[in-house]
């Protein structure tokens, strides 16, 4: 079996398990909606104010939703002893990393695809621009690249779910800054040129951390 074939098997396993239980997507989706609504109450009602804070609310929401979904992904493995099962399989640790990462990416994208139109509806904004889609996809890749690594680390500690946000949020600060800035520009109709420096940073972050996490993952899940 080739590398990508094995990766797809793991991603498919996660997807199948998710399709049957719908654990991650439903709960995280509801959480996302609730956070958006709560932020709405927090920031008051004027239309200009909402246009200003909208990108920030969007990305804080996605960051928290990402933490939740990444946590669930590895906790499930830990509970049923599946992680040991995976490690005993004749596959390299990197296959596990890429497989889990693609699974988390898929779930986050599904959540974002559903959340964005609702966000547009509640905030009265145009979100279906190609710019915003690209920003969202690139940033999500960055989230899951680092998040999969840290989530595997977090489930092996005493505090479990609590550790992931402490590790994850400082590290993805550049992603959040650039995504919020770029989203704000995209929502006000800016073309690709104005977004380029932000997208470059997001792209660089993705490339660097995909590679770094790929190589370090083995150290995290070894006993």
């Amino acid at each position: 079996m080739s590398f990508w074939h094995k990766v797809v098997v793991i991603t498919w396993k996660d997807t199948l398990s998710e399709m049957r239980t719908r654990e991650i997507v439903f709960s995280v989706l509801v959480f996302t909606l609730l956070v958006i609504v709560t932020f709405n109450f927090a920031f008051g009602a004027s239309q200009e104010m909402m246009a200003l804070v909208a990108p920030g609310i969007l990305w804080v929401t996605f960051a928290f939703a990402g933490v939740l979904s990444l946590n669930r992904s590895f906790i499930m493995e830990k509970e049923e002893g599946c992680l040991e099962g995976l490690m005993v399989c004749p596959i390299s640790r990197e296959v596990i990393y890429v497989g889990k990462m693609l699974g988390s990416l898929l779930f986050m994208l599904i959540i974002e695809v559903i959340a964005l139109p609702i966000f547009a509806f509640l905030f009265n904004l145009e979100v279906l621009s190609p710019q915003l889609v690209v920003i969202t996809v690139l940033t999500t890749i960055g989230f899951v690249a680092v998040g999969t690594l840290f989530s595997a680390l977090a489930v092996n500690t005493k505090a479990r779910e609590m550790v992931l946000p402490i590790l994850f949020l400082p590290i993805v600060v550049p992603l959040i800054i650039c995504a919020v800035k770029a989203s704000g520009l995209a929502l006000s109709g800016e073309s690709w040129g104005g977004l380029s420096s932000w997208l470059q940073i997001i792209g660089a972050f993705d490339a660097i951390f995909l590679v770094v996490s790929f190589f370090i993952f083995a150290f995290v899940i070894e006993e």
């Binding site: 092996n156 500690t157 600060v173 550049p174 650039c178």
Partner: protein, 219 residues
């Protein structure tokens, strides 16, 4: 013996720094007396980043060679480094209040310092929350490596973000020779202090490991 010499040298440099900062160097014209905190703030910042670099090197070497002495170096450096990072934030705030009128501002350097501090904290928390020592060491090494690689990206993103809203300027003009001399002596003094504290902590950790080993033998 080496550490006693280092202690002496460090004390000497610190006294020299105090003399230079408070008695020798002339008062800067724009900011007045408060500017003298610059001579503590910059060395502390330099040491905080140097310490994190040592954490990074120690983490890589630990994961690669699997020799626990690298982990001892990395974790000791992180503990000393977090103190300097805290001092960085405190001296930054103390300087900011009279000059800019606020305790805190989301200005690039301060914000990057804050994120550095948070990553240090994450490193230390991961160690204490692990189920066993060796796992804690490995996890912390991972955080050290990822964190250090992340810091330049954080600095870049924050600087780009903040130049859209220009903040207050730190300094007009360059450094006159007396100021430069004072700054260099202070940097040297703080670096020596860092090395002293690092060696002290490493020696303590080695003693802790030795004690644990002896306890196991006595069971």
């Amino acid at each position: 013996m080496k550490r006693k010499i280092l202690l002496g040298v460090s004390a000497l440099k610190m006294v020299a720094s105090l003399y230079l900062v408070f008695l020798y160097v002339p008062t800067e014209e724009a900011m007045g007396i408060v500017q003298r905190i610059f001579y503590f703030h910059v060395p502390v910042a330099w040491v905080a980043f140097l310490a994190f670099f040592i954490v990074f090197l120690g983490s890589i070497l630990y994961l690669w060679k699997k020799d626990s002495k690298w982990d001892v170096i990395a974790s000791s450096s992180a503990e000393v480094g977090v103190v300097f990072a805290t001092l960085l934030l405190i001296t930054g705030s103390i300087w900011a209040k009279p000059i800019w009128g606020v305790w805190w501002t989301w200005e690039p350097r301060l914000t990057t310092a804050l994120v550095l501090w948070l990553i240090y904290i994450a490193y230390l928390i991961v160690r204490s929350f692990a189920t066993e020592e060796s796992r804690g060491a490995r996890f912390a090494a991972v955080v050290g490596i990822v964190g250090f690689i992340d810091v330049p990206i954080v600095a870049l993103a924050i600087t780009l973000w903040r130049t859209q809203h220009p903040g207050p300027v730190i300094f007009q003009g360059g450094l006159t020779p007396p100021m430069l001399l004072t700054l260099l002596i202070c940097i040297s003094a703080f670096t020596t202090l860092y090395l002293l504290l690092l060696m002290q902590r490493i020696s303590m950790k080695n003693d802790e490991i030795e004690i644990r080993r002896l306890k196991e033998l006595c069971r």
